[in-house]
Amino acid sequence: MSEPKEIFVRLDRCMGCHSCELACAVEHSGSKSLYGAISEQPRPKPRVYVESVSKTPVPVVCRHCEDAPCMHACIAGAIRRTEDGVVITQSDRCIGCWTCVMVCPYGVIGRHLEEHKAYRCDRCPDREIPACVGACPTRALVYRSVTDFSRHTRKTASAQMLGTQGG
């Protein structure tokens, strides 16, 4: 089995356009199209958050922690890990007690107030590449395995040290 992929953020590339948020909300809508999603009730929610620190945009997304505190804290057994290693919230079991919100150190679990359910990144099970990654115009969000990502990061770093050969 190949190493599972994760969503990585390359901070230096993020332009703060919030396209990932829109794409995420659309992917988690009934119609799965922007034009349809825009008028849906209850409103589709994004599960990726482009925050900002001073003027630097910082996309924040669920890490699907190895030791997911949300999953263990859930008092309703609504959070589990799929075979692909993705931590998901089962909406039908969620009772809206917000314990997961209270324990998530990344602050990436949302509360759907109309539905009284918690929601979070599910890595887009219907897609090969998560919608946020696919929507990122500058590839600030990438979907890779840990090994792949760190190898790439090292390569980039060494290329920079060598004086940006080849432009």
């Binding site: 919030h18 396209s19 659309v26 922007l34 825009i38 929610k45």
Partner: protein, 643 residues
């Protein structure tokens, strides 16, 4: 077969698909490649929720309610999208009327005898336009009338006491009253554009409905610009009459000096067409079979309508004309010219020549065109094209062997003349009688562009096919006409196959009465995009004949693959004129729920017109038919059962 499916998703025109494959082989980037690279496109822009009108921005509103609900200034989503739409309408208006103003200046120069290259080709039209404008014509020489008409035209641009004449005098009296009551009569074309820029400025108009009404008034100013452009072009270059010609890349000739004229204004293109025969010998001397002029986009429509010049291709596929390798020169003026043609031309060795001071492209050769030196400039262009031919004549070219017969040239005057063969006293009577009888269910005008988001021509052809079968009389302008002509919709040989029985009989009766020995083509080509004015003129004539307002007529419009902001302004005046107007791509307004509701519904209570936004051509056709039937019912006419 995935490749073929992929190609079909780009263009339904087989000639273009051949060239897309060729471009791919040659590693030439095309509009489709750039579109792919651009995807996914920004959802905020897509829904109109991105505002850059001030330096505090950019602002974007989150349509899903998690992020900002208003701009930094406090503008709501509806305010934001209404402002954006208004600016699109203003840009379209500025373009059409800029084209018209250019022609008005030429007419003024002709009247003052300052240019020998141009003349009044159509004194009858000059006098008809003057009469409509209340300019005395009796016993006056053409030049004097032309001077008054040109001055009246130029006066229509600035704010003045009287309304814009090209708006106020071109609509039927009932419509004039509707527009007056709603304060939609423009006071100056440039003035309305300027007003839009003012009211959409940081901190001016924040009322979405007020903004939309302002946009509609600017739309009426756009009608004025279009109408004026058509009028003056007809005066200077002639009223189109039916011509037989052909369309598609197969009109290029490997052995000829191929010159494509691309853009919009007939000013230069008509001169090149007129001068071509004087240079044919030179072309032959250069080793060519002659000079072969072809058209692209609306410049192509202008010279096709008046001179039967073949159309090479249109809109989204403009690069493909160059990809054939057979084009020696592409001469452009303004509007709808993708800057990318410069790099494609460089790859293929085509000379790209810009001619307008406001429309230069890096990588192109610029020949500053003016009326005074029109002949010399035209000759300079021929020289460049021939020099280029000498360089490429022994190199292989790849011209798809695909072209379709086209009968074009249906100006209102030409249509009325054709109908008068059936009823000399009341030429419109046969059409109206057939509408009443249900042989013609209604009328649909196709206008606008090809949009890369739609498989080229697919929306036009799918909807037109359905409407023709349902006996809807189909008119077309601009690149909508271009799409339909390349798929055989302007070939009389296809009338029987494409049209329902009622429509077929009417087209055949008119054709035979005019000695064509067969029917009119299934779709009537009315001209370039400014010539949407011709469709308005026809609708107004029918409305006047019936004594009803234009919003009661079973007439609809469709910009099925719109691109340009000009399509938005045309849509605005179609709605102001009371027409149900289909747009087949998404307008960037969906982020404003109120604005969306007003445009697609509420505005109906004001002007009778409204937008139908539907990206699916099948259901769009159903909606257009339903709109036609609703209007038939309003007139007390029965509609055939949907088949």
């Amino acid at each position: 077969m995935a490749g073929e499916r992929d190609a079909m998703s780009k263009s339904t025109d087989p000639a273009i698909r051949e060239m897309i494959a060729r471009a791919a082989r040659m590693e030439i980037k095309t509009v489709w490649d750039r579109y792919e690279a651009m995807r996914p496109q920004c959802g905020f822009g897509d829904t109109g929720l991105c505002c850059r009108h001030c330096l505090q921005g950019p602002c974007r509103i989150d349509p899903f309610g998690e992020g900002p609900a208003e701009g930094i200034c406090g503008a709501s989503a509806d305010t934001m999208v209404a402002r954006g739409l208004d600016r699109a309408i203003a840009a379209g208006t500025a373009a059409h009327s800029g084209h018209a103003k250019h022609l008005a200046h030429t007419l003024l120069k002709v009247a003052k005898g300052r240019t020998g290259a141009y003349s009044i080709k159509e004194p009858g039209k000059l006098r008809a336009v003057a009469a409509r404008l209340n300019i005395p014509v009796e016993g006056r020489p053409d030049n004097d009338i032309a001077l008054d008409v040109a001055n009246a035209a130029l006066a229509d641009f600035h704010e003045k006491e009287t309304p814009v004449l090209w708006a106020a005098t071109v609509v039927n009296p009932q419509r004039a009253k509707v527009l007056t009551d709603l304060d939609l009569v423009p006071r100056g074309i440039d003035h309305e554009v300027s007003e839009i820029m003012h009211r959409t400025l940081y901190g001016v108009d924040a009322d979405p409905v007020n903004l939309l009404l302002g946009g509609l008034r600017c739309g009426v100013a756009d009608l004025a610009g279009c109408y004026m452009a058509t009028d003056i072009a007809d005066i200077l270059f002639g009223i189109p009459t039916p011509v037989v010609t052909e369309a598609n890349l197969g009109t290029l000739k490997a052995g000829a000096v191929n010159i494509a004229l691309h853009g919009h204004n007939p000013l230069l293109s008509d001169m090149l067409v007129a001068r071509a025969h004087t240079r044919n010998e030179d072309a032959i001397a250069a080793g060519a079979s002659g000079i072969n002029i072809v058209g692209i986009c609306c410049t192509g429509n202008e010279i096709m309508m008046r001179h039967g010049i073949p159309a090479c291709t249109h809109s989204v596929s403009q690069e493909m004309a160059i990809v054939t390798g057979a084009l020696d020169a592409m001469v452009v003026d303004y509007q709808c010219i993708m800057p990318s043609v410069a790099s494609v031309a460089e790859c293929m060795g085509t000379a790209l020549i810009t001619t307008m001071e406001i429309g230069k492209i890096p990588g192109a050769r610029h020949i500053a065109f003016d009326e005074e030196s029109a002949v010399e400039k035209a000759d300079e262009i021929f020289d460049i094209a021939m020099a280029n031919f000498r360089r490429r004549k022994n190199k292989p070219v790849d011209i798809p062997n695909i072209k379709t017969p086209v009968v074009a040239g249906f100006s209102v005057e030409a249509i009325v003349a054709a109908l008068s063969k059936l009823d000399a006293r009341e030429p419109l009577k046969p059409v109206v009688d057939n509408i009443v009888a249900g042989n013609i269910r209604g009328v649909c005008l196709f206008a606008g562009c090809n949009n890369v988001k739609v498989p080229q021509d697919n929306n036009f052809t799918v909807i037109a096919r359905k409407l023709l079968k349902e006996n809807v009389l189909v008119l077309a302008t601009g690149c909508g006409a271009g799409a339909l002509m390349r798929h055989g919709f302007m070939d009389p040989a296809n009338t029987d196959a494409l049209c329902g029985d009622g429509l077929k009989a009417v087209l055949r009766a008119i054709g035979e009465a005019n000695g064509l020995g067969g029917p009119l083509p299934p779709v009537l080509h009315m001209g370039s995009c400014v010539d949407n004015s011709r469709a308005v003129a026809l609708a107004v004539a029918v409305a006047n004949y019936l004594g009803v307002d234009t919003d009661k007529l079973p007439v609809v419009a469709s910009a099925a693959e719109a691109v340009s902001e000009k399509a938005v302004s045309i849509g605005a005046y179609a709605v102001a004129a009371g027409l149900p107007t289909h747009v087949g791509v998404m307008l960037p307004v969906l982020g404003g729920p109120l604005v969306t509701r007003v445009l697609t519904d509420k505005v109906k209570d004001l002007t009778g017109g409204y937008f139908i936004v539907d990206l699916d051509p099948e259901s769009a056709a159903e909606k257009l038919l339903a709109a036609i039937d609703e209007r038939r019912a309003g007139l007390g006419l029965q509609s055939p059962k949907a088949s």
